[in-house]
């Protein structure tokens, strides 16, 4: 099955000065992507750029990605306008296990995009979902919903503190038997995984590494995962193919 699709931009908006939300037309990706999966998008630079799927519209045959401008490649992609197109490989990676009925979602940084997709999917299925978002300050807030628990380091919006401070506002009822799914910067995911562990909750995180192929053939995007075999300190697993989603207890932080 060929996964490389030429996708046209059908809508585009700037969420803040350096982050764009782009909607591509691609019925195959819209139909098949599950939350936590990503796409690898071609630009003028040599390698493609990976982005977590932020939303799908199966009826319209479209999907969205959030693009934060980091360098030349992301700058070019974030400047695409309606009617322009590029090659998109996907959907890629394993995605989250969403078979439970009760979830706590935690998003920070560009992790808010896959968390948005998770929220859309889980709430449409009528599942019990709480969402915690963490940002540096008010100017960084994107993909927010009034129902979310919002935290900022600066304290100029929402609760002053980090995601764990947000998690600590949840009631015992909210927490009981919930599965924690977290996407964000490594220190945040590590702290959330530790919080989940302290509450006896299962937690999955989505890891991020510098990537090339996105399909598991080059082995450059590996992350350290606890080995199944005894006597081996760790295994290098491919973030793109074996992940990006891993059980937080398997991750060597």
């Amino acid at each position: 099955m060929n996964k490389d699709h030429f996708c046209e931009v059908v809508s585009k908006s700037m969420l803040n000065e350096d982050t764009a939300l782009i909607e591509f037309l691609c019925p195959e990706i819209a139909q098949n992507a599950i939350p936590g999966q990503f796409v690898n998008v071609a630009c003028s630079n040599f390698l493609r750029r990976p982005f977590g799927v932020a939303s799908v519209d199966k009826d319209m045959g479209t999907f969205k990605v959030g693009i934060k401008i980091i360098g030349e490649g992301t700058e070019e992609l974030a400047s695409m306008e309606e009617g322009e197109g590029t090659w998109v490989l996907g959907p890629l990676g394993n995605g989250f296990d969403i078979s439970s009925d009760k979830f706590i979602l935690v998003g920070g940084g560009t992790g808010v995009f896959p968390v948005n997709f998770l929220y859309e999917k889980l709430s449409s299925e009528g599942k019990n979902v709480k969402v915690v978002q963490g940002f540096r300050d008010k100017s960084q807030i994107i993909m927010n919903d009034p129902s979310y628990i919002l935290t900022t380091d600066a304290g100029d919006a929402g609760l002053k503190g980090n995601c764990c401070d947000g998690l600590n506002t949840l009631s015992d009822d909210d927490i009981k038997d919930a599965v924690v799914l977290c996407v964000g910067p490594m220190p945040m995911m590590r702290a959330v995984a530790s919080w989940a562990d302290s509450k006896g909750l299962k937690c999955s995180v989505s890891l991020e590494q510098r990537m090339a192929c996105g399909i598991g053939i080059c082995l450059v995007c590996t992350c350290k995962i606890k080995a199944e075999e005894e006597g081996i300190p760790f295994e290098h697993k491919r973030c793109c193919k074996d992940g990006p989603v891993f059980d937080s207890k398997e991750v060597i932080w």
């Binding site: 099955m1 996964k3 040599f46 090339a212 192929c213 053939i217 080059c218 082995l219």
Partner: protein, 306 residues
């Protein structure tokens, strides 16, 4: 598929000159989900060692102009695991099975060939990797010493009847000296070239981007270097050359073959466009039809300026 793409590398017949380069196709599973690999002349396995290797610490990749650096460091499951779980799968792909053999010492290479030889009915050639730049011992350090190249190839020659393709490093003063040494040792073919040793610097941190400091540079940027090396070696050696380095379109294959390659390997192109070999193959067939010629007739037809 058109027979016009059939080639021979010494005694080894391949249905196409296109081979997937080691380290850019894993063991073929992932790409076989994207296109039918039987259109290829062959697939070269991920570089294998006697014991499993975890590879280098990340960051392992740095994007460059017209290419990339990698410092994977021969991460592989070990040859026993390969024989148990991957070799039959590769054989089932209905394309040439090339097994890439790496090591840290002569003894490692001997053990590897002895381990693989009993499975020769499933293997079309052993690609002896004397060129990986990302490990401290063996590989490139052997491949950059003509005496050691000659010695290791002649030692391995005694151990197997399987075709020995020697993959050489461009990080040497004279590639033709190394190719000649491989030929003298009894090689069936040489593969030119592995990656070029390079470095990228993060301006903000003033540290190399790669955790390994250096890495192997691949991609279209190295193609002219590879073609020069193929041409240089073609003047000097009698055994076939498999060209490799920056091939991303059909015209690149034609260039390599005119310069002296009997077949070619496609590497980094697969990391950017996974099914690039499909388009390259179709274009090569069309070119052969248009020019009413077989692809093999191109090899070494370069007319150097006097």
């Amino acid at each position: 598929m058109s027979e016009r793409l059939n080639v021979k590398v010494g005694e080894t017949s391949l249905k196409s000159p296109l081979i997937l380069a080691s380290g850019t196709c894993n063991m073929g599973r992932e790409l076989s989900e994207i296109y039918d690999l039987s259109i290829l002349g062959g697939l070269s396995s991920k570089g294998l060692t006697i014991k499993p290797r975890a590879g280098n610490e990340g960051v392992r990749v740095a994007e460059c102009k017209a290419g990339m650096l990698n410092s994977v460091g021969l991460q592989n499951p070990g040859v026993e695991h390969f024989i148990k779980y991957d070799l039959d799968f590769m054989k089932s792909l209905n394309t040439g099975v090339i097994v890439n053999v790496a090591g840290h010492s002569t003894e490692d290479y001997i053990d590897m060939v002895k381990t693989l030889d009993p499975h020769k009915d499933k293997i079309d050639a052993l690609e002896i990797n004397l060129s990986c730049p990302n490990v401290k011992e063996g590989c490139m350090s052997i491949g950059s010493d003509a005496g050691q190249v000659r010695k290791i190839v002649s030692t391995l020659r005694e151990l197997t009847d399987l075709p020995l393709w020697i993959k050489l490093t461009p990080n040497v003063t004279s590639i033709s000296t190394m190719a000649l040494a491989a030929q003298e040792g009894g090689a069936d073919a040489v593969v030119l070239i592995n990656t070029m040793l390079g470095m990228a610097v993060d301006i903000k941190t003033r540290r190399p981007v790669l955790r390994n400091n250096t890495g192997g540079y691949s991609g279209p940027a190295i193609k002219p270097v590879a073609i020069r090396m193929v041409s240089e070696c073609y003047q000097v050696i009698d055994i076939p050359i498999i060209g490799c380095g920056g091939i991303s379109e059909a015209s690149d294959v034609l260039e390599f073959m005119i310069a002296g390659a009997a077949a070619v390997e496609i590497g980094t192109a697969s990391l950017v466009i996974p099914d690039a070999p499909v388009y390259i193959s179709e274009e090569l067939e069309a070119w052969c039809e248009e020019n009413d010629t077989d692809i093999a007739s191109l090899t070494g037809t370069l007319k150097l300026w006097e």
